[in-house]
């Protein structure tokens, strides 16, 4: 019985946690903006550190002001500092 329990525990530990989400929802996971795909798994939209490295300035994952989703947004710089530019 103990062996059976131990095997079950091991099997549970070996599996990835199931994190079913609602399709098309978005969220921030640290510096990563994510969307829930049709398999109900969170997948990356973009990583804000990588956006910052490529675009200049400081970027952080936040919800948009209108609440329509999460993405990487620039962190306001002081007036005399230069922000990201193409």
């Amino acid at each position: 019985m103990k062996l059976l329990l131990a095997m079950c525990a091991l099997a549970l530990c070996a599996c990835e946690p199931v994190d079913h989400c609602r399709v098309n929802d978005t969220r921030c996971s640290g510096q990563t903006a994510q969307v829930c795909d049709s398999d109900q798994r969170w997948v990356e939209i973009m990583n804000c550190d990588e956006v910052a490295a490529q675009s200049g300035g400081t970027w952080t994952c936040r919800m948009l002001d209108d609440g329509s989703g999460h993405t990487c947004l620039p962190v306001e710089q002081d007036a005399d500092e230069e922000g990201g530019a193409q």
Binding site: V35, S55, T71, C72
Partner: protein
């Protein structure tokens, strides 16, 4: 299209292919693409002729294109050739990042994976178009292109969300895809006059 000449487009392709280790093959004469086209046609995903004439396809580091680089046609303008080059190079980056097995599994076996990989590549069009015009391409319009990739309606909606969220960042100055960054840097040096004027 001042500034964008056949020579500039050819040089751009040379630069991007060298940077990402890609090679170009004429899709219309490639026997493997004839087979893929026939298969997709039988599966009802896309009509064979349409697949061979209207779509570029990348497998690994090989980019199959249905046009001659630098020769503008009704289907493939010079600017369209710049954008599709960047899009296909983004697939090379994905292939290198994921590795051949994971990439193939995600792209071929899973509609959600295919939609996401394509949405990410279509983001190149959004980023380049924004650089050139200062206007965002509609996320809905771009995501609708995925309907011909055999994905589900839910996948198209997720792709639209990816592109819509990307657009929010792009219009604030982000360049998200590495291939877009490389393309824009090149364009800024070689054809800066194409870039949208600020304000």
């Amino acid at each position: 299209m001042s500034g964008l000449t056949p020579g500039v487009v050819s040089e751009f392709w040379q630069y991007m292919l060298h940077r990402y280790g890609g090679s170009v093959i004429d899709k219309r004469n490639a026997s493997e693409m004839q087979l893929v086209g026939a298969l997709l046609g039988k599966l009802g995903v896309v009509d064979k002729d349409s697949f061979l004439r209207h779509y570029a396809t990348t497998i690994g580091h090989r980019i199959y294109i249905p046009f001659e680089i630098g020769l503008a046609t009704a289907d493939w303008s010079l600017w369209g050739q710049i954008m599709v080059c960047t899009h296909e190079c983004q697939h090379i980056v994905q292939y290198d990042d994921l590795g051949p097995i994971k990439f193939a599994w995600q792209y071929v076996a899973k509609t959600a994976g295919r939609a996401r990989l394509e949405a990410e590549a279509y983001r190149c069009q959004m980023e380049l178009q924004f650089w050139r015009t200062g206007q965002l391409v509609s996320a809905h319009e771009l995501a609708s292109s995925l309907k011909s990739y055999g994905v589900t309606d839910a996948d198209v909606q997720v792709a639209e969300t990816i592109l819509r969220m990307s657009g929010e960042s792009v219009k604030r100055g982000a360049v998200i895809n590495p291939t877009s960054r490389a393309a824009i840097d090149w364009l800024n040096v070689h054809v800066p006059e194409l870039r949208a004027k600020a304000g």
